[in-house]
Symmetry: C2
Subunit: 246 residues, 2 copies
């Protein structure tokens, strides 16, 4: 599991709401270092706090006057851009960039994902010092992603390397095979006495199909007991009906 | 490339804003079939339209009174839930679920990703008919994702199977090797005449290091010409200084 996490750098962000949503998305995936270059409406920001759902109290936020000071201590910069530029840079998907960042962090380097303003993204002078450009593959006919959504996707991809896991929970334990065999043997007997098999010829195939069908559910002990109860109830009903009709 | 796309099903969604943001996220990744079960504030919705940024006009939205009618024609249902339940179901990450859905769609089956209400998610009676449960791995100390963000992440993962691509652009063409050799030969000559190499002993190693360093940039033709110009300027300056000091 990685100890270090990448920095998220927002360059000239305009709306506090988006900064707050970005902060929330960061913390959702374990990132805790946010840097802002010249936020339009200043900092701190009430709209950011409202959108962050408490995340701003749990991450660090630093404000810088320009790109150079915000990136001075960073070894590897990933520029997130919507449009492909003329600049000659390695181009990556978020998946590849997350992997590259994890390798860098693991080697003790500091890495940052850089996002431009809502209106215009990053300009060429900001992309030039970056080491790679990251493009999110989208529907070419409807490609505009909100900045906080781009941050979310990048953080989500990084999260795959951050040792985040689904809470363990208990792995389903299928019943031991003998319980299933008991059930199957009994069912076969009941089906025989109920004249289910029209010909002895087809019987092996039909039994195999039934076994396959019932195995697929990977029933637990309890579920096998339930099915035994269902058989009893069905057989009992038939027996009861037989008695009645006599 | 897949022709079919999964359905996004929102069960009892509360805020129109979230429905709109979900629609936008869907279209960003090429999904176009949205179903709503009993949206709290009715449908259509002004807040949804405002948030959808035009997406609602390009996707189909159908409203159903209950879960059963909304899922009647679906073969494979994925339930997105934040919490792990006691129910015995295969549990998947969004990545695995996207892959499974692509396989199903490819086989001509209809698949849907199912999301519960903002307040309470899906209840157990809605999860029971689903074939798999999808958990997004998050920071356990800050795990709450907005419903539209969950839809975004799921659609993004599906998009990896939908043949979405980064616009092609031109692959950088490094200069042919002979151009690089010309440059390197000239640089070596200039360094020799500038007394750069302190000992003949170390010269091969130093040259190798310089070659490695300069190769790493994968320079284009134009960039090599630029560097030739830089050498000329530096040499010229030195020559000029020599003349001046004479």
């Amino acid at each position: 599991m990685l100890q270090n996490r990448p920095v998220i750098l927002l360059v000239r962000p305009q709306m506090g709401e988006n900064i707050g949503a970005a902060a929330r998305a960061m913390l959702n995936f374990g990132l805790t270092e946010l840097r802002l270059v010249a936020p339009r409406d200043g900092w701190p920001s009430k709209p950011a706090e409202d959108m962050a759902a408490g995340a701003l109290e749990k991450i660090t936020v630093d404000v810088f006057p320009d790109f150079a000071s915000a990136t001075a201590d960073i070894h590897y910069l990933f520029a997130l851009t919507a449009r492909r530029r003329e600049l000659e840079k390695p181009s990556m998907t978020p998946h590849d960039a997350a992997q590259e960042s994890a390798l860098r962090l693991n080697a003790g380097q500091k890495a940052a994902f850089v996002f431009g303003s809502e209106r215009a993204g990053l300009d060429n002078d900001e992309i030039a010092p970056c080491h790679a450009v990251v493009h999110i593959p989208v529907n070419p006919d409807f490609w505009s992603l909100n900045i906080a959504q781009s941050v979310l996707l990048m953080c989500y991809e990084f999260g795959k390397h951050a040792g985040l896991t689904i809470p363990a929970g208990s792995l389903t334990e299928p019943a031991p095979q003998e319980k299933f065999e008991e059930l199957f043997t009994r069912l076969t007997k009941e089906l025989e006495s109920g004249m289910f098999f029209q010909t002895e010829n087809l019987k092996p195939t039909m039994l195999r199909n039934i076994r396959t069908m019932l195995t697929r559910g990977q029933w637990t002990d309890q579920e096998i007991r339930t099915f035994q109860g269902i058989i009893s109830a069905l057989v009992g009903k038939k027996e009861a009906e037989k008695k009645k009709s006599r």
